[in-house]
Symmetry: C2
DNA sequence: CACGATCTAATCGCGCGCTACTTTATTGCT
DNA sequence: AGCAATAAAGTAGCGCGCGATTAGATCGTG
């Protein structure tokens, strides 16, 4: 006594009506696509995101990194320790504000950027969206994130 | 010597050009929105997804559940044990095929459905997308998942 | 019927991701 | 200056997710 595609999504408890599930499944599927490529670089997906930020702006605090990636220090601290252990970056207390920790790429970390250039190309290819679809998707996802985040 | 919005996204290493990041951030933001609602039901987000499936089709194998949610048994097995420990479902070896485990809701698990009805309504509201945007987003996300998964 | 290939769950190890909490440093107020 | 409030990073605990592996059941082919 359930279906009839009455008002799709509005209050439905059917899995396939849920945007949240489409989102969750897509996110994991895309990350899974990245995995073999990132394995070659010795990186996990969140580690790759951290490096994307650092390649754009080296010398950044944990706080700023968290703001850029929307991640808590409780997630970033151990992740950054692992990247430091792999020799890709250094963490150092700031002298002007000892609460803050400055993250800086090592030469190895900076050099990895060249090897990473192939990644977005391969992924863009695998996603198989037109330029318009890609732009539209990004736009919708940002709107959604914005709506859902701000009170 | 980097920017100039030359060909957005095509091979860029800028975080904000990455569809994958928009996806990853949106997924976490939406799940975060669910958290307080699901807390009231004593559920995590993936547990809620499992129940969505079971409310649609009770008596299902771990394999089928994994196919529906795109999750491995290594994720589902412990998750199902926790739901069993909370009294929401039962796991039982099938007599006709002893490899398979049948998942069945308890009365408590089935009854939780009524309390869950409020969830999609509240979330739909918080997402703040028009019906068209919602449908378009789902469509794009499914296309993306399909492209990225196959092959 | 035998026996190797396949299938199903489950386990283990590891890296997130988040909440709650702690520690240390800085700021703001009087 | 003194001290509460705030801020930054980190730790602990828990629940995913996933790759790799394993144990046991079933299937397929000779």
């Amino acid at each position: 006594m359930n279906p009839v595609p009455s008002d799709p999504a509005e209050g439905s408890l059917l899995l396939d009506d849920q945007l949240c599930f489409a989102l969750y499944a897509a996110s994991r599927a895309v990350i899974a696509r990245y995995r073999p490529l990132l394995d070659e670089l010795g990186l996990t997906y969140p580690q790759y995101l951290v490096l994307l930020v650092l390649w754009e702006q080296d010398e950044i605090s944990v706080r700023e990194l968290g703001a850029a990636l929307q991640l808590e220090s409780s997630t970033l601290s151990p992740l950054l320790k692992r990247l430091e252990a792999h020799g890709l970056l250094r963490r150092e207390r700031r002298s002007d504000d000892e609460r803050s920790v400055a993250i800086r790429l090592t030469d190895t970390g900076a050099a990895l950027r060249e090897r990473a250039r192939a990644v977005p190309l391969a992924i863009g290819d695998a996603m198989g969206l037109t330029r318009e679809q890609d732009a539209l998707a990004k736009q919708l996802l940002r709107l959604l994130t914005e709506n859902v985040t701000t009170r």
